[in-house]
Symmetry: C2
Subunit: 446 residues, 2 copies
């Protein structure tokens, strides 16, 4: 019996193994959040809200149906924090951590799964990378917490200052977006110190471990891998587009920038310009932003962070590959080329597939929510993309969602975290047995 | 001097030649629409509205800033109708028509341009196809007009009935969406006869001449070209999605289906489900539809009709190729395969490029319009996609657009008609001289 179950587990594909792993973590989290000691009112969360919150934390999304700061007890908050950290490490890296702690040998099969999890190319050095991930994560989070503590200790009691520093450092580096203030970071709107620490944490978390390792080893841009170059280039461009876009689109909005001094506008535009990818904190109420800003944020959320990172979305490289392929075609090249390297057909097709599947999920989910909910279209569209890209920003409608809406957003958060392609492949995996190559035939385009 | 100009024209690439040709037609149309005899008030249109209307007609879009029925004189309406017919034939087919009428020989160079215009693969049979296009267009339009006349003669004087029949048959087959009723076809909401004639005309027009010719010659599905099969398959699926989607999304809307009998709902769902691709007529006020229907229509408009047709949008084959490539990858194939045929890398890249360029244009235009206009986001988004895909449906904001808005929508209609890829290639064409093939390097996706 037990052997049977074990051999069933062993025969699972990596994609299915990861999907089931995340489901288990979320199940445990949901159970814990229904306990009476989880909420201040001593009742625990109902099953739908517990599932929503556990999924939001594990998927490092940050959408909330109950206020983390005032509705959950410290126990409840710590459950959320642990789920965030598990989600941030990635399920397999967490397992590796336990294995390393227990001194156990890591099997070849487990290495394959870890490789899938970290989205890395070769098995050699995967264990090294997993150790590196854990050391790096804890190191950066500790540094972040220390720097935040220097600020928080001025206004909070020492123990609370430590707790708040640790919570927000982890939540920021993991791109989780959960906060212990009811209004996210709106109290710190003009505070350069806090703004820079938080944004640096989540931008680093969103670069992806492979890129940080590559940067640390190579130091010079030209010697970096093509992947690292593309990640850095797209990240910089998106930061510039986001920040300058918000600055322009909010400049005449009396509810937001109209109330801020010029120097506060700079840091606010920067913060709101980088948080959509896919941190989820905010220093300005999202519901007060102009329609233009909301649409820009929707696009930035959809693109998201970099692969193998704590962030979500389509990923910077996906959109980068699509634009490189488009540009190459327009200037008359047959292949997609970047920095004197050629992108393979399968790379471009993969980028395409992730984008198409994601668009289909978002369109279908948005359509259903327009029926079940009675909010404005842009609010529903914003919420859907935020959930799918595991961002956590909201115009303020999350708490007002119907039960069907809550369940649907939960499913979207999970789908967005496990990755549309991983999910699609988990559902459709089969042997590559088609040795027949059909003759080519043309199709009219455009 | 003259020789110099002529040789300059001869050295133009097909894409540039077509772009300039459309600009010339629109310029003449704009001039005519500013004449006093164009409008009922005897003042003629102002330059912005004349440019808007001429572009809308030539691009067979159908968005209107002045009411065609009551604001324009019969002369003005006929200017619009001629522009629609020129747009419908396509600029080069129109030139071919004149050449044939004048008995002139058609040069090899002109055949290349015609090929580009009709989006056809080989030079052989292009002239045959052009003649076919003209005969087919006039034949179908005549039949449509005759059938409409049988209905219109019951309520209108004979001469007016003839005029209305011809105008709406041409406008429908050319997917133009201009009507001589101020409320489009809302008077005919439950009229199966008129609904079926109009929809059949614009669906035929939206299939593309090549497909109609293929169907006429081969008759059986299995013997059709891969292109024709994909066009028919996607068209049928999109008709089913559109009609059933509208039926469901409007079923509890008191402003629309709430006022209709069940049998009227069927035909209304069908009409509103097929008109987004990209006819532009409506039998229900678009502004009264639910947000869900508007979003569904936005998606359908964006996809649009089939290549080489009178319709606009991304094209059914473009989206078909992207979905085939995605599906092939998900089930574990290296190549995109359909009906036992392989799609070449360049076909998939082209489909990708058209989609990416189109998305960029629509996102940028929508962002600008959210600043310059003060309508709801979904209304602005709807209007932008409608203009780009040359659909002509509107929630009712066209007449309320600012001057900047009108000019921007004009530019979008033109861009949408000339085709984003044609435009991009016209701007970026160069010799394919890169014989160096760079080494391949991997990129992380998703
Ligand atoms: K997040
Ligand atoms: K149209």
């Amino acid at each position: 019996e037990v052997n049977n179950i074990l051999s069933n587990i062993k025969s699972l594909t990596p994609a299915r193994f990861l999907t089931i792993g995340y489901l288990l973590v979320i199940s445990v989290g949901t159970f814990l959040l229904t306990l009476p000691i989880t909420t201040v009112d001593g009742r625990g969360l109902n099953i739908v809200d517990a599932l929503f919150t556990a999924t939001s934390a594990t998927a490092v999304t940050g959408l909330i149906v109950v206020d983390t700061a005032t509705y959950l007890t410290t126990f409840g908050q710590i459950v959320v924090l642990v789920l965030i950290q598990i989600g941030g490490f990635g399920f397999m890296t967490t397992s590796t951590l336990f294995a390393l702690l227990l001194g156990r040998k890591i099997s070849f099969r487990e290495r394959i799964i870890i490789r899938e999890e970290l989205n890395h190319f070769t098995l050699s050095g995967v264990i090294k990378l997993a150790r590196y991930v854990i050391a790096l994560t804890l190191g950066i989070e500790f540094t972040g917490a220390l720097l935040l503590f220097l600020k928080f200790k001025n206004t909070l009691p020492i123990s609370k200052a430590i707790y708040f520093s640790v919570f927000h450092a982890i939540s920021a580096f993991c791109n989780a977006g959960f906060a212990l203030f009811s209004n996210s970071l709106e109290n710190f709107v003009g505070n350069y110190y806090v703004n820079i620490i938080i944004t640096t944490l989540f931008i680093l978390g969103g670069l992806g471990f492979a890129v940080i390792a590559d940067l640390y080893e190579k130091r010079r841009f030209v010697t970096l891998s093509l992947n690292s170059k593309l990640v850095l280039l797209t990240t910089i461009i998106l930061i510039l587009i986001g920040s300058s876009g918000i600055f322009l689109l909010e400049s005449s909005n009396q509810n937001t920038f109209g109330q801020l001094a010029l120097e506060d506008r700079f840091i606010s535009a920067y913060f709101q310009g980088v948080t959509p990818r896919t941190a989820g904190f905010n220093t300005i109420a999202i519901g007060d932003l102009t329609q233009g800003s909301l649409f820009l944020i929707i696009i930035l959320m959809f693109i998201g962070a970099s692969p193998g990172s704590t962030g979500g979305g389509l990923k910077t490289t996906t959109i980068g590959v699509l634009i490189v392929a488009t540009y190459s075609l327009v200037i008359g090249k047959d292949d997609a080329e970047l920095f004197r390297r050629r992108l393979s057909q399968i790379t471009v097709y993969k980028a395409l597939a992730v984008t198409i599947v994601s668009l289909l999920v978002i369109i279908l989910a948005t359509l259903i929510l327009t029926i079940t909910e009675s909010f404005k279209f842009i609010e529903i569209f914003f919420e859907t993309v935020s959930a799918y890209a595991t961002v956590g920003l909201s115009t303020g409608i999350t708490g007002g969602l119907s039960t069907i809406g809550r369940v649907l957003i939960t499913i979207i958060m999970f789908t967005g975290r496990v990755g549309p392609l991983t999910l699609a492949m988990a559902l459709g995996e089969r042997e590559r047995s088609n040795k027949v190559r059909y003759p080519e035939e043309k199709i009219l385009i455009g």
